[in-house]
């Protein structure tokens, strides 16, 4: 069960129960829907972009604890970040949950480092990254787009 607590850290369980920045964003000018057909997780990420800056961000949808907490913490860390910084964090985060992140990188992920336990659970990597893939689609897309993890 020790691995389990690595995965379901208290902060993750807490975010899954009370997600931050949850709900549609009235000022959104970009949005994307992400879907994981494996488990039916479905999230919409809303972005209020001003130039290259993420002025505001929110998400809405249903999913497991890992995907929901990941989405919640992603929105927290990205508010005020640039498009480039967001993509960089996605890259780092992906490395973290797939067990490829050097120790130095973990530090720059801040609170997101709690997801390092996911790397021991390959089946859950898609849960942890769903919101980030959706964010990527929202950043790339014109106004609306859909992304699937399969």
């Amino acid at each position: 069960m020790s691995d389990l607590r690595d995965l379901y850290q208290e902060v993750i369980v807490e975010h899954s129960k009370a997600p931050r920045n949850y709900g549609a964003l009235a000022t959104a000018n970009h949005k994307a829907e992400g879907y994981n057909p494996l488990c039916g997780d479905r999230f919409t990420v809303y972005l209020d972009l001003e130039g290259d800056a993420i002025r505001d961000i929110s998400f809405q949808g249903a999913g497991c604890a890992i995907s929901k907490a990941s989405a919640s913490m992603m929105t927290q860390i990205l508010k005020g970040k640039s498009r480039e910084e967001a993509e960089e964090l996605f890259d780092l985060f992906h490395k973290l949950v797939t067990g490829q992140a050097p120790a130095g990188d973990k530090a720059s992920l801040g609170k997101l480092a709690v997801f390092s336990g996911v790397s021991e659970f390959p089946a859950r990597v898609k849960c942890a990254t769903l919101a980030w893939h959706t964010l990527h689609a929202a950043l790339e897309g014109k106004a609306e787009s859909t992304v699937s993890t399969e």
Binding site: M1, D3, L4, L7, Y8, V13, K17, L38, C39, G40, D41, R42, A62, G63, C64, A65, I66, K68, F121, A123, R124, C127
Partner: protein, 436 residues
């Protein structure tokens, strides 16, 4: 003795076309049922997962294989392997006999009239695709309708959707109630003058519901509509007699009934199969070929283009003989006992809700836990060596019906025990602790 040859059994099984555990022989004598010796037949069950004994409760996805099946496949490759039919050499004759022997085993298992009514396919999915592409494309036209139910696996929805899209026909689905049972009256009302085909699952993979297929077939036949039964989830759990059912097509996968993957069967009444065009073209399915014209082979070979999965068929034959040696009545009684025990045990867990409460169920226990996504339940149970399935179980319309994204599903086989159910219950309690 099969239901068809035994009028009394036929009567008893009238409503379900089978001998469901609770009706015929449901309280079969289990005193001689030695679960430990049954478990010893399955090498994979002897291992530990993450340091814990494997508790395998994902049998509706695929079942484990007894030693006799593994040995049959190995023996085939070690002693009998050759391509079947036509060749005059010794091994080819042995391979042909092994393959055709497996066909006869299937015939006996589902009590088909003749062995040439058994077509070997990759699995139930291919069986359904064969019927949609061959029978469907020649009999369903613009404005026609195909009727299914709201509890089908995607494999009994999508092939019909493709057919209906191509032909300008309409796919209709009969609704189910809150218990996960087919609303029979609404099903009957949906059969109209344009209904050209009925395709129904025998047992729901997501809910465990046993459908009243005998009544469905009688009703459809009274309007001259042929019926396909998807038996993938039924054959491991209850006795199926295709003559007693009078179904036109019946299909199942080998791997869910302790046989290899990649092999399954489609049963079809020979008059229907004879009149149907080939599904795939190639070797073995022809009688003679010139560049101008091909004469197709007789049944069942007309539908078996290319070298088939001979070893798979041999393994399936061994699996069916194994099931018969234990007796489906006794298997059904054991599994019913387990399902009842499990249903009572998990019902006592705070915040747990069972999805699918049909009065006739087989093999499947689907549930949701308040405040916890099924995927998280699956991961936490896996840490304890317990394998269940979580998700929509390839039955998204069922999830939509119950307004849930997914369920956790424990599904049982002949080798499962009450102790394993206890482990499941402890596991789910530990999930609640993580999310407390």
């Amino acid at each position: 003795m099969t239901a068809a040859r035994n009028p009394e059994a036929k009567l008893r099984a009238a409503s379900y076309g089978t001998a469901p555990a609770r009706v015929a022989g449901g309280r079969a004598d289990l005193s001689s049922w030695d679960i430990e010796s049954v478990r010893a037949d399955f090498p994979i069950l002897q291992q530990k997962i993450r340091g814990k004994p494997l508790v395998y409760l994902d049998n509706a996805a695929t079942s484990q294989k007894p030693r006799v099946v593994i040995d049959a496949v190995r023996n085939y490759y070690e002693h009998e392997n050759a391509n079947i039919h036509r060749a005059v050499h010794f091994l080819s004759e042995r391979a042909t006999e092994a393959y055709e022997g497996a066909r006869r085993a299937v015939q006996g298992f589902i009590n088909a009239r003749a062995s040439n009514e058994i077509i070997f396919v990759r699995g139930a999915t291919e069986g359904i695709n064969l019927v949609t592409q061959s029978y469907g494309r020649t009999h369903v036209g613009p404005g026609d309708e195909v009727l299914i139910t709201g509890m089908e696996h995607h494999s009994n929805i999508v092939p019909w959707q493709i057919l209906c899209d191509e032909k300008g026909a309409k796919l209709r689905a009969a609704p189910i109630n809150d218990a996960g049972e087919l609303l029979f009256d609404e099903f009957a009302e949906l059969i109209g003058p344009r209904t050209k085909f009925v395709a129904v699952t025998h047992v729901s993979n997501a809910l465990g519901t046993v459908n009243p297929v005998k009544q469905i077939i009688e009703l459809a036949h009274s309007r001259n509509i042929p019926v396909l039964i998807d038996g993938a989830q039924a054959v491991p759990h209850l006795k199926v007699d295709v003559q007693a059912l009078d179904c036109d097509f019946y299909t199942f996968s080998g791997h869910k009934i302790y046989g290899p993957t990649g092999i399954g069967i489609l049963y079809g009444k020979s008059a229907l199969l004879d009149a149907m065009p080939p599904y795939q073209a190639g070797g073995d399915m022809i009688s003679s070929v010139t560049i101008e014209k091909t004469i197709y082979n007789a049944l069942p070979y007309k539908f078996e283009a290319g070298t088939p999965h001979i070893a798979g068929a041999v393994g399936l034959g061994a699996a069916l003989r194994y099931v018969e040696s234990l007796g489906l009545d006794r298997i059904a009684a054991h599994e019913r006992d387990l399902l009842e025990y499990a249903t009572d045990a998990v019902s006592a867990i705070h915040g747990l809700r069972i999805v699918g409460a049909a009065s006739e169920k087989a093999g499947v226990l689907s549930f949701v836990l308040e405040g916890v996504h099924p995927h998280d339940i699956g991961t936490i149970l896996d840490q304890q060596g317990i394998a269940i399935r979580t998700g929509h179980h390839c039955s998204q319309p069922v999830m939509q019906r119950f307004d849930i994204p997914a369920t956790a599903r424990a599904s049982f086989a002949l080798y499962n025990t009450r102790e394993e159910v206890d482990a499941l219950v402890r596991g789910v309690e530990s999930v609640r602790e993580v999310f407390a």
